[in-house]
């Protein structure tokens, strides 16, 4: 029986047309359904596979012990033109797999693996975080709030990029506000490293503490903890009896503006993991694949602050994932427009101005990769801290 099955399989395989190429996406234990990092990795690769006529498979990991076997299983088949690792947690496994399979092309998002056959795709998160920081600082000054907040995850180098850019942006916003209005109202920064990328309750607690200290908004830099951040902000509004305006929620990675029907999510610092994956597949198809670091920033469309067009794209993303009901689509768009309208037009123009400055290179946003570099930036932009 089994032999017959094997034969049948061989016949079936022989009958299937040969595809032009194959790509694989390997996810960490977070898996699909996060509406953010992992889903975007899938989306970008899927899009690229569609555009270039490739076959794509997705491999999830039930435990961290599956990372290396998953990479080996795929590489051993010698069928895949590219294997994409979504997330820095796969870094250790890829380090080893890249050495064992030197002829296999790999790409990794958000981590640097030093091997000639690995394309390490990193993002200049400092750039979009600067835009969010500038927006937050000017909004705080406009509404008379003393602070703006950020809730971060585990203290790893990637998050230093966010913090460094955010600090620079707040400082830029403070100066801009003073220049435009003629009165200086420097906004302070409240920041917390929660030490977790999974404990939603920690995000809520940290946000509550920041709101109590007069934060005009909270920037989520801890993935799923944003759910808790937004919950705290929503409860704050409910107690105050307000439906829009400050305090605001600032999303991360994906466009999270539509969360909570866009009642309080003002903008998102987007890190386009989908663009990263797409870039890697495109490089392989076009024969321009090289190992080493590929850095994506505002100029490459790898990061950005959320715009209306992104909102439309990600609302459809949310609806297709079942996280948003189709009948809530119009209400979400209306809420978003009302909430954005609570920020005066000149502030939005100032954010655009900062974006243009970063794009043409006249404004350089600092970043930090080590604890020492981070300390230096904290000392440079103290933002209300003694």
């Amino acid at each position: 029986m089994r032999k017959w099955l094997g034969l049948a399989l061989v016949v079936m395989l022989a009958a299937t047309p040969v595809f032009a190429g194959k790509v694989a996406v390997v996810l960490d234990v977070g898996g699909r359904g996060d509406l953010s990092f992992n889903d975007m990795g899938f989306k970008g690769t899927d899009q690229a596979a569609d555009d270039f006529g490739l076959e794509m498979v997705e491999v999830q990991s039930a435990t961290a012990a599956d990372y290396l076997p998953n990479l080996r299983n795929l590489a051993r088949t010698r069928e895949y033109d590219l294997i994409i690792c979504v997330g820095f947690l796969l870094g250790d496994a890829l380090d080893q797999a890249a050495e064992e399979f030197p002829n296999q092309k790999f790409a990794i998002i958000d981590s640097v693996v030093d091997a000639p056959n690995v394309m390490s795709i990193v993002f200049r998160e400092n750039e979009m975080s600067a835009l969010v920081g500038a927006l937050g600082a000017m909004a705080a000054a406009h509404y008379g709030y003393p602070n703006v907040g950020v809730v971060l995850g585990i203290e790893i180098p990637v998050l230093y990029h966010f913090e460094a850019g955010y600090r620079f942006g707040i400082d830029w916003g403070n100066k801009k506000y003073a220049a435009v209005t003629g009165t200086a109202k420097p906004t302070g920064l409240l920041y917390t490293y929660t030490g977790s990328f999974s404990d939603i309750a920690l995000g809520k607690a940290a946000t509550e503490a920041m709101l109590a200290q007069g934060a005009v908004g909270v920037y989520n830099v801890a993935g799923p903890l944003g759910i808790g951040d937004l919950e705290a902000i929503t409860e704050f509004h409910r107690n105050k009896g307000t439906k829009s305006g400050p305090p605001y929620y600032f999303g991360v990675d994906a466009n999270q503006d539509w969360l909570g029907k866009a009642m309080h999510a003002l903008a998102s610092g987007m890190k386009r993991v989908d663009t990263g994956c797409y870039t890697a597949v495109k490089a392989v198809v076009e024969g321009t694949f090289v190992g080493g670091i590929t850095s994506l920033g505002l100029a490459e469309g790898g990061v950005g602050i959320s715009k209306f067009i992104d909102l439309l794209e990600f609302i459809d993303f949310g609806i297709s994932a079942g996280a948003l009901r189709p009948e809530d689509r119009d209400e979400t768009l209306a809420n978003w427009a009302v909430n954005r309208g609570t920020i005066p037009a000149w502030i939005w123009r100032a954010v655009d101005e900062l974006e243009a400055g970063i794009l043409d290179g006249t404004i350089l946003v600092p970043t930090a990769d080590t604890g020492a570099e981070m300390q230096a930036i904290r000392a440079l932009y103290t933002l209300g801290a003694p």
Binding site: V57, L89, I154
Partner: protein
């Protein structure tokens, strides 16, 4: 109206049940596996996946060659230990749900060897010892609560799991953390790692420790006086006590031995599994090994030798499950793979579950009686 002439179906159901319960355990397991595979096939068919090709991928991925077999064994190694934790205590008449937490503590203790240097073999042995002692010490909490205050070990071990989970979360984040890679602890140095047994796979020499420990548990339980006392206490505590066996001693002993096993599961994972050799924040490489071990214990009929085969079966399911996700042109998403695995494991655990929980067996018998009676009852009414 006599029962004999209106209940031919009842007799038939009873007959089937008697045949089933009288089966040889191995045959029973095979039958259960077939039922589980069929349920899994139906589930996959309903959701539009080709069950034949999916199972072929599973089989290929689990046992298709040296690489696959080594990967399957490697995946089963920690499960052997956590299964033993559960089984030893079942033999002593207790439900120890605490393997998960004891394993976390064992893993954290093993990571501590990164802070000092020793010659290669010795370093490894010290790490194993650390993990074993830490696991045993952690298991003493629920054991002493039961012995001195009569607290149910089911409740206390579950609560201790949560304590150890958050304790290890804390240790990983603040004490054992690698300052350059804050998402994980410091790495265990090469001198304290289990060497890889089959190059290019995850299989390390930890497998020998697992098999040896299984055999040790078998010898202790079935070929020593202490083991006899443990099993006697497990079968009928009152009779055992009347026979002069100290129930407290057997309980403490089985808890401690179980704790050692769970600690070793932590050691086998942190010191014997490439590539990280550290605990990652959120414990994604340890999570659920303790609970999966309980399922392995059920499938292995709570016998140390049965557990070896059950762990191989489990490792194969998991290793093959990885391959099901991409093999051939019939990729099955991980979520579906886990549903199918769940169906197979549940089917295989049912015989032992019924044996362990007489109430469950009684419910099953009641159901069989109801089914048997329904038909004649309606005929009477008509």
């Amino acid at each position: 109206m006599t029962t004999t002439d209106v209940r031919p179906r009842g007799r038939w159901v009873r007959g089937v049940r008697r045949t089933l319960t009288g089966l040889h355990p191995a045959l029973e397991s095979v039958l259960a596996a077939v039922v589980g595979l069929l349920v899994g096939a139906v589930l996959m068919y309903i959701w539009g996946y080709d069950p034949w090709r999916a199972y072929w991928a599973l089989l290929r991925g689990a046992f298709g060659g040296d690489y696959e077999i080594a990967s399957s064994i490697a995946r089963g190694v920690p499960l052997i230990f956590t299964a033993l934790t559960f089984s030893i205590c079942v033999r002593a008449g207790m439900f120890n749900i605490g393997a998960e937490g004891q394993m976390y503590i064992g893993a954290a203790a093993a990571v501590c060897v990164a802070y000092f240097q020793l010659p290669a073999g010795l370093h490894l042995l010290v790490g194993i010892l650390f993990a074993a002692v830490a696991g045993a010490v952690w298991s003493l909490g629920p054991a002493l609560l039961k012995l001195t205050r009569g607290v149910s070990e089911v409740i206390s071990t579950i609560m201790f799991n949560w304590i150890s989970r958050f304790l290890v979360f804390y240790l990983v984040a603040f004490v054992l953390v690698d300052p350059r890679q804050a998402q994980r602890t410091v790495r265990i140095p090469v001198s304290a790692r289990f060497p890889i047994l089959v190059q290019g796979t995850d299989l390390s020499y930890a497998v020998f420790m697992a098999v040896a420990f299984s055999l040790l548990v078998y010898v202790v339980l079935w070929h020593t006086a202490v083991g006899y006392e443990v099993r006697a206490a497990g079968l009928t505590p009152t009779a055992a006590r009347y026979g002069g066996i100290s129930i407290k001693r057997t309980m403490l002993l089985s808890f401690a031995l179980g704790g050692v096993a769970a600690g070793l599961a932590g050691a086998a994972t942190t010191m014997g599994l490439p590539p990280t050799y550290a605990i990652i924040s959120g414990l994604p490489e340890l999570m659920n090994l303790g609970f999966d071990g309980m399922a392995v214990a059920m499938v292995g009929r709570n016998h140390p030798i049965g557990i070896l085969f059950a762990a191989l079966f489990f490792g194969g399911l998991n290793a093959g499950g990885r391959v099901m996700q991409f093999y051939g042109s019939n990729p099955v998403p991980l979520e579906m793979v886990r549903v199918v695995m769940g169906a197979i494991v549940l089917a295989m655990a049912i015989p032992e579950l019924i044996r362990l929980f007489p109430a469950l067996a009684e419910a099953g018998r009641g159901l069989a009686r109801t089914i048997a009676r329904r038909k004649p009852a309606t005929e009477e009414g008509a």
